[in-house]
Amino acid sequence: AQSVAQPEDQVNVAEGNPLTVKCTYSVSGNPYLFWYVQYPNRGLQFLLKYITGDNLVKGSYGFEAEFNKSQTSFHLKKPSALVSDSALYFCAVREGTGGGNKLTFGTGTQLKVEL
């Protein structure tokens, strides 16, 4: 069975500071990993993905994530946070083969960026 853990319910950061939102995963086989963002009263928006290749992936709005196979982690990062980044962030995983594209989502991390 595949699973995702987002250990922090909320992350607070000052605008201009770097941010990290943590995610660890468990799958049998190679993982496909995703980050999504949800703004209030909106659907989820795709941010970035790791399928294969370079461990550092870049996505929308200046976000990036680093795949670490030994630590089974896929933390989301941004060098300089903006107030407009405040939202709910979801990490998701699926097995690389089979599974019918069944994504398992983490419980979400609320990011709050303050002036």
Binding site: G43, L44, K49, F90, G100, N101, G108
Partner: protein
């Protein structure tokens, strides 16, 4: 143009009623999904269709019945609504089963059962 659209956006109804939520995508994708997000924001897949064929059917009460008339549409019908069905329901779509390009989500339908 909206890529994945859902109607209605809000749905308030009484226990025991039957209701439907509609979803349409204009991305040309061949796979569509229904997710349920509860009050704690936990997101869980309910169903997935690929080329109108059911491929994911999670542990969901059989009061929930998805229907896919074509690749661009996936509707969700709910019979005998219960208080616990109150949630936000999201439709999503993707191209193929590989999922390498991620899934695209609709804006959600907030269902309130009173």
């Amino acid at each position: 143009d909206t890529a994945v659209s859902q109607t209605p956006k809000y749905l308030v109804t009484q226990m025991g009623n039957d209701k439907s939520i509609k979803c349409e995508q204009n991305l040309g994708h061949d796979t569509m999904y229904w997710y349920k997000q509860d009050s704690k924001k936990f997101l869980k897949i309910m169903f997935s269709y690929n080329n109108k064929e059911l491929i994911i059917n999670e542990t969901v009460p059989n009061r929930f019945s998805p229907k896919s008339p074509d690749k661009a549409h996936l509707n969700l019908h709910i019979n005998s609504l219960e208080l616990g069905d109150s949630a936000v329901y999201f439709c999503a779509s993707s191209q193929g089963l590989a999922g390498g390009l991620g899934q695209y989500f609709g804006p959600g339908t907030r269902l309130t059962v009173t």
